[in-house]
């Protein structure tokens, strides 16, 4: 069973009811109500379907109800396994080719029109949608909030790390998963809000109604006056041969499997992309007991927050810059991933290729906004706002603010006399800022009293250390005049309470205190299950991941509020101020195979995942037909699949360029929001359905 039975940060729920189900006739067990794709993963199944084109095995990709790649046959019907809850006795089968429509010839049953009216429809119950709904309901508007997941909170429920930002504004220092619980509870306590969980919006219509598919069983038309689109984002795919093999997942899918559903989805992964999502994804893998061979980044610098990068590098995961994936191969699943350095034009240098034996490749190369409903609403002339990732890809902390601001703008559009607090806008801007200046710090020296050492050298919007210090000894040194500024310790009042060490979301604070001329005590934060006891010898690393020394553990202490271990180590006086973390992963884990093993077939990369249309097929078609309109690619079925061309669209400019057409001269494809397939019987709420 590939289950995570213990997790350093997440509670593993006990007492869940186990049920039996069949997969391709083989008896399996899973938890009642858990998401089917996760039950299948836990049972060791990663191949969900066999594509009719090329009989290619297909695994999960987004785990988010968007891409349809995880479709299986459930009790005779094709269903996306990532949004289907497991029930006792389910007969689950691999979807081979296209499904058979059951010969259910019972006469049409009684039908029912279901509808509800509201002032505001909020699409999406993530941080921005929840915040917007709360704000609007507080102003007296009736609100319907529809979210496609069972649990509200959007991606917060996958986020086991502590938040950046400030404590007063956006729960900084609190883990995303806990913020989600709090926001949901707050919203549920408000009477004029109707929450539709597990209810994707499938379309909005000119007559100011939205079609909502409630609980995978009924179709509800929601009439609304105005719309908040907070539908989040979807993962970008990238092009390399083997990019549709089972085992190539979006980083968000991986976080869903590992953090939400506590499934050990892999043994050894390669992460593609060094933005915050990739860095955090790698960290989450380690927390779940999964090894990380490397993080590769095509750019010459790390794309995410430096503290996130430092944190993962210190655990023993290398970040390889100027490097890309050239091939992922295996017999029906990922077995090997080959990477190579790139030249200044991002062309891979095949002579530098190295192959890793991994079973999973995480794609963390960015997100694109799910803002189609907003664009459509604007085209229809409805009052509408967008918020969160649907507006701009940014951190959840800024999304919470963005949601509140969007709510006020909408209220204004609806004629309410509201003024938007300028400071909110300023705060949102700060919270979504890209990292600012990087500064050098003078090396600290240990004294008789405890003092903090900061490994926080890059400006990011964050201040929990300054907030939690009981003696007020940590302040931000003014540069920008916002929470972007870096923290510094001043004075001599540190009591060694370790609150700053535990609260820092970047794990970028240690405490040091002199023992004698030769030795110093160092307190380091640690977010893994400690497998060691007092007296153990642990490899201590510097901020850049370089090895300092083996040090002995004096004490370990679990800080409950921040769910972080605090390790006190005896480190040599010379190294103590540099000591920033403990290696978690052995060096062997990150070694490639002795010699590279791959075929270089870049034309085989899949652009349209739903219909398995490759780069080579598209380039040939574009040339032969002089295509300059994305819509014409549908002739060879690219973009015609269940996802509604959401996954392939961002890739087309690369494809056109490869075919010798300047993407500037290319007309974009028509936008089709409906991406959730609803059975006809449910569209008319036919009674007596099985």
């Amino acid at each position: 069973m590939n289950r995570i039975l213990h997790h350093p940060v997440l509670d593993v729920p006990g007492g869940r009811r186990e049920v039996d189900f069949l997969f391709d006739g083989v008896p399996s067990r899973g938890y009642e109500g858990e998401i089917l794709s996760s039950a299948l993963f836990a049972a060791g199944y990663k191949r969900f379907s066999v594509h009719r084109k090329g009989e290619a095995p297909q695994g999960i990709f987004c785990a988010n109800g968007q891409c349809s790649q995880c479709t299986v046959i459930v009790n005779g019907l094709a269903r996306k396994s990532c949004v289907t809850p497991l029930a006792a006795g389910m007969d689950v089968r691999t979807l081979v080719g296209i499904p058979i429509l059951p010969a259910d010839n019972r006469p049409r049953g009684r039908m029912e029109k279901k509808s509800v009216e509201t002032d505001i429809l909020v699409i999406g119950g993530g941080p921005s949608g929840l915040s917007a709904a709360m704000e609007l309901a507080g102003m007296g508007f009736s609100v319907v909030l529809a979210d496609d997941k069972e649990r509200l909170g959007g991606k917060l429920v996958l986020q086991t790390h502590k938040f950046f930002g400030s404590e007063e504004d956006c729960y900084a220092g609190t883990r995303g998963v806990d913020i989600a619980r709090k926001l949901e509870a707050d919203l549920r306590s408000i009477p004029n809000v109707m929450i539709l969980a597990n209810s994707p919006v499938v379309g909005i219509y000119k007559d100011r109604k939205a079609g909502v598919y409630v609980n995978a069983s009924s179709y509800l038309l929601v009439g609304f006056k105005a719309l908040v689109v907070a539908a989040g984002a979807r993962e970008k795919s990238i092009l390399f041969p083997g990019n549709d093999l089972p085992g190539v997942y979006g980083a968000g899918a991986f976080q869903t499997l590992v953090n939400r559903d506590l499934v050990k989805a892999a043994d050894r992964v390669l992460v593609v992309g060094s933005g915050n999502v990739g860095l955090i994804g790698a960290y989450h893998a380690l927390q779940a007991g999964i090894s990380v061979a490397a993080i590769v980044e095509i750019l010459p610098k790390i794309n995410g927050y430096k503290v996130h990068a430092d944190k993962i590098i210190r655990t023993g995961v290398p970040v390889r810059l100027n490097t890309t994936v050239v091939s992922v191969e295996g017999d029906g699943r990922v077995e090997r991933a080959t990477v190579a350095r790139v030249d200044e034009n991002w062309k891979p240098l095949l002579g530098t290729a190295e192959t890793y034996e991994v079973d999973t490749v995480l794609i963390a190369t960015g997100l694109s906004s799910c803002d189609e409903f907003y664009d459509q609403a604007r085209a229809f002339g409805f009052p509408a706002v967008k918020a969160g990732d649907a507006e701009e890809i940014a951190e959840a902390s800024s999304a919470m603010f963005g949601g509140r601001i969007a709510a006020l703008s909408l209220a204004k559009l609806l004629g309410k006399a509201v003024t938007i607090d300028e400071s909110w806008i300023a705060k949102r801007e700060v919270l979504k800022s890209r990292p600012g200046d990087v500064s050098c710090r003078d090396e600290e020296t240990a004294g008789e009293r405890w003092r903090p050492v900061f490994f926080c050298t890059e400006e990011i919007p964050c201040n929990p250390c300054a907030t939690v210090c009981p003696t007020g000894s940590i302040t931000l040194r003014e540069n920008k005049g916002t929470i972007m500024d870096l923290p510094y310790y001043h004075g001599s009042d540190c009591k060694g309470c370790m609150a700053c060490v535990a609260a820092c979301p970047g794990l970028a604070v240690s405490l040091i205190r002199r023992i004698d001329d030769a030795w110093t005590e160092v307190v380091l934060p640690f977010e893994f299950d400690p497998w060691f006891e007092q007296g153990a010898i642990l490899p201590v690393l510097a901020q850049d991941g370089s090895f300092l020394e083996d040090a002995s553990l004096q004490r370990k202490f679990f800080h409950k509020k921040y769910r972080t271990w605090l390790l006190t180590l005896k480190v040599s006086a010379a190294n103590a101020p540099k000591a920033a973390g403990i290696r978690v992963q052995a060096e062997e884990t990150t070694r490639p195979m002795p010699s590279p093993r791959f075929e270089h077939l870049p034309d085989d990369a899949v652009v349209c995942r739903c219909e398995r249309v490759t780069v080579g097929e598209l380039v040939e078609f574009i040339r032969a037909n002089r295509v300059t309109d994305v819509n014409q690619l549908k002739t060879i079925r690219a973009g015609m699949g269940a996802c509604g061309s959401k996954t392939c669209t961002p890739l087309y400019s690369q494809v056109f360029r490869k075919a010798g057409v300047d993407p500037k001269d290319v007309t974009g494809g028509s936008v089709r929001p409906l991406a959730v397939e609803v059975p006809m019987g449910d569209l008319v709420n036919e009674g007596g359905r099985p």
């Binding site: 019907l77 296209i98 058979i100 019972r106 079609g211 038309l221 059975p679 019987g681």
Partner: protein, 390 residues
């Protein structure tokens, strides 16, 4: 200025096949289109049905030609357009429909149509699981079928390019220069075109285009919504048409495409006139209610997408084909009433013959084997009545 023998306005269901048919005869042909590429007007919204089963002899003749071209397309050109001779099946669930269909059979057979009455049992063989109760049978025309509008227009575009036709996209016609009852030049937002013959194949914009030469034609678009399901293994063969109207709708029809997807469409009641292409919340519940009524097993079929398209309608449901008195070198191929996709290939082939013969204006209707088409669909007719199988 660009000079061609023929300039076609509109690269859609009608214009693109015509461009190909002309170019392959060595006629220097250009096609000017305001959209960004071919088939982006009504063609992209067509559901793909192709039938010769009409109540009008001219349409029967043209569509028979279309079927001949499309059914041999792969064989002849090596390009798949997803043609399938699935047939059209008009269902009779009441006496009135049975009577009307049987009467129509006489006309249809006389026009050379391969169509006959089939009993309910045979209907159920072609569409297993269809509601048996009340089913009296239907008229089945096995030679009819369906193809992908997108693949078909892309194929014709490619063939036209290879035959030497030129296309210009994203270009809008602004006016014509007239001289002695003839058009000498066509002006657009970026070019001036000169040609011996201009063809108005502008679909929903045809009336607007002909008004530039002072001619009014009664072509007004109305809107229909369509939808497509997920693909499933083939379970039904023909295009099913139920023309019984109810309070909210007229006829509706659906078929299973070669990809396995069920494509469906309904005529709303009252008709929605205009060019508003925005989806309405009523479409899915309405069309699904009617489809499940006769085909309950569709209850488990998942709808993938919906869209809205225009039918460039004429008052009598028949196209407008002919030369203009106002400008004798303008050929109207307009008012396809939502059937441009099935009429286009045959019409293109026929018109290329006529144009190659060189007879224009009044001479065209008097000459050759296709003269009757000009008589029947002349823009100067009275536009009375309504084609029954519209």
């Amino acid at each position: 200025m660009k000079t061609f023998d023929v300039v076609i306005v509109g690269a859609g269901s009608v214009g693109v096949p015509l461009a190909y048919c002309l170019a392959r005869k060595g006629i220097r042909t250009a096609c000017v289109e305001s959209e960004a590429s071919w088939g982006r007007g009504q063609n992209r919204a067509a559901i793909g049905g192709v039938r010769a089963t009409h109540s009008d002899p001219g349409k029967i003749r043209i569509c028979n030609e279309s079927i001949a071209i499309m059914s041999r397309f792969r064989e002849e050109h090596g390009i798949d357009i997803e043609w399938r001779s699935g047939g059209y099946l008009f269902l009779a669930y009441d006496e009135a429909r049975e009577k009307a269909f049987r009467e129509l059979l006489v006309v249809q057979k006389a026009a050379g149509l391969g169509i006959d009455w089939i009993p309910a049992d045979r209907v159920l063989e072609l569409a297993p699981g269809l509601k048996r109760e009340g089913l009296r049978g239907g008229t089945f025309s096995p030679g009819d079928g369906y193809a992908s509008p997108l693949m078909t227009s892309t194929a014709f575009h490619k063939l036209a390019l290879e035959a030497g036709a030129e296309f210009s996209f994203g270009e809008t016609v602004t006016g014509f220069d007239m001289e002695g009852g003839r058009m000498t030049r066509m002006r657009t937002d970026r070019e001036t075109w000169s040609a011996g013959l201009f063809v108005n194949a502008a679909g929903a914009s045809a009336a607007e285009l002909s008004s530039l030469v002072g001619m009014e034609i009664p072509v007004h678009p109305d809107c229909h919504e369509g939808g497509v399901s997920e693909p499933v293994e083939r379970f039904m063969e023909p295009m099913l048409v139920d023309i019984i109207p109810d309070d909210e709708s007229g006829n509706y029809y659906f078929y299973q495409a070669n990809t396995g997807q069920v494509v469906f469409c309904i005529t709303p009641k009252p008709q929605v006139w205009g060019t508003d292409m925005d989806n309405s919340s009523g479409f899915l519940p309405l069309v699904v209610r009617r489809m499940l009524e006769i085909y309950p097993r569709l209850r488990n079929l998942r709808v993938r997408r919906t869209w809205r398209g225009m039918y460039p309608m004429t008052p009598d449901g028949l196209p407008v084909i002919g030369y203009c008195r106002e400008a004798e070198n303008m050929l109207l191929l307009a008012g396809m009433c939502g059937q441009g996709f099935m009429i286009g290939p045959g019409l293109g082939s026929i018109m290329a013959e006529v144009i190659a013969d060189g007879a224009t204006g009044a001479a065209a209707s008097a000459s050759g084997e296709y003269g009757f088409i000009f008589d029947e669909f002349t823009p100067y007719r009275k536009f009375e009545g309504m084609e029954m199988l519209k």
